[in-house]
Symmetry: D2
């Protein structure tokens, strides 16, 4: 019930979407909001790209390599930003982003 060749990558994208959206919601509630502008923006950006990538891979898109490369790039950018902050949600988000970027690159390498 899933595109087997993309299973790991799809699951990493969906875990990353969840972590980014959790970080987005949590960041919007933080007291010190101004320093989180870029974090909020990148959380949404990365969540939306991961969600798009997961659905595209699950429909066996013809553009799997391009979409995974885009996703890896968004994950790198979001991880880099979140690593600047000490909130738990930022740290967990950065970890999910790094794992997803790795999964995307492994999938591209195996293609």
């Amino acid at each position: 019930m899933i595109q087997e060749k993309y299973r790991e990558c799809i699951e990493a994208c969906l875990a990353c979407m969840n972590a980014c959206n959790y970080c987005y919601v949590s960041s919007l509630k933080e007291y010190e909001l101004a320093m989180l502008r870029e974090c909020i923006r990148l959380d949404r950006e990365c969540a939306d790209i991961c969600a798009f990538a997961a659905e595209a891979l699950s429909r066996n898109t013809l553009f799997a390599l391009e979409i995974s490369a885009l996703c890896a790039k968004a994950c790198d950018a979001c991880a880099e930003e979140c690593e600047k902050h000490s909130h738990d949600h930022c740290r967990q988000c950065a970890e999910a982003c790094r794992r997803c970027a790795d999964a995307c690159r492994q999938m591209i390498g195996a293609a």
Copy 2:
């Protein structure tokens, strides 16, 4: 790293998205295509609605009840159609749809 109150519902939506898209791709390859018109259409419809619902719940949407009710309705319709066909991908898709509709309704009931 996930909206805990929606965890089961998000996971059911994502499993259903995968099953619907797998059924969609597989149906488009079947020899007897004409009898699968509605199945193809509903697979895409349901996959897109499940993907949307999962991301909305993961960002703690203000419209969780409306979106889950929409998702349950789409899942019911897709399950009903897939249950008319004997292909493995249709049968598995129908099961994922029924589980997702249940998870959505449970979440609504608990709200």
Copy 3:
């Protein structure tokens, strides 16, 4: 090249998506950020729902009424929030939301 019966509603949804995302980006840059938390959250929410509604209507979704009702509700909520703020982007967003909510309700009424 468009579902004629939904043309006005699709166009209002897309205009609203653009206005909400413009308000979202602009709000994240404002000096007084804390008072815009709800505005940012609702801008994204409404933009994502409008984008989803427009694509669903353009594929002649079976769930046009439910999706348009959801969209109208999100537009109302976003307009109500944006009307609390005096920024140009908030005022323009509120207007686009009101127009989109009207277009959705007109479409529902005509169905």
Copy 4:
């Protein structure tokens, strides 16, 4: 109320999304369905990528170049497939795809 620098590209993406989805719905109703398998698949693929690109550009995505390049590639592929068929919906879809691919490439060139 719109990212001015991306206005033409966003509008071309949304017109292409509508044309692709119209062709998708119309193709699924054609009597000779089997010859349209690839057309149906590419219509959905291209519609979903155009919708994603339009929303990403409207939120001033950091990945405008990558996303526009992906969109141009999907539009080329869909146009190429639709040009094989003589249905009005295929011909109109191919034209919208060519226009969108051009708009994406112009935007990339101007960046």
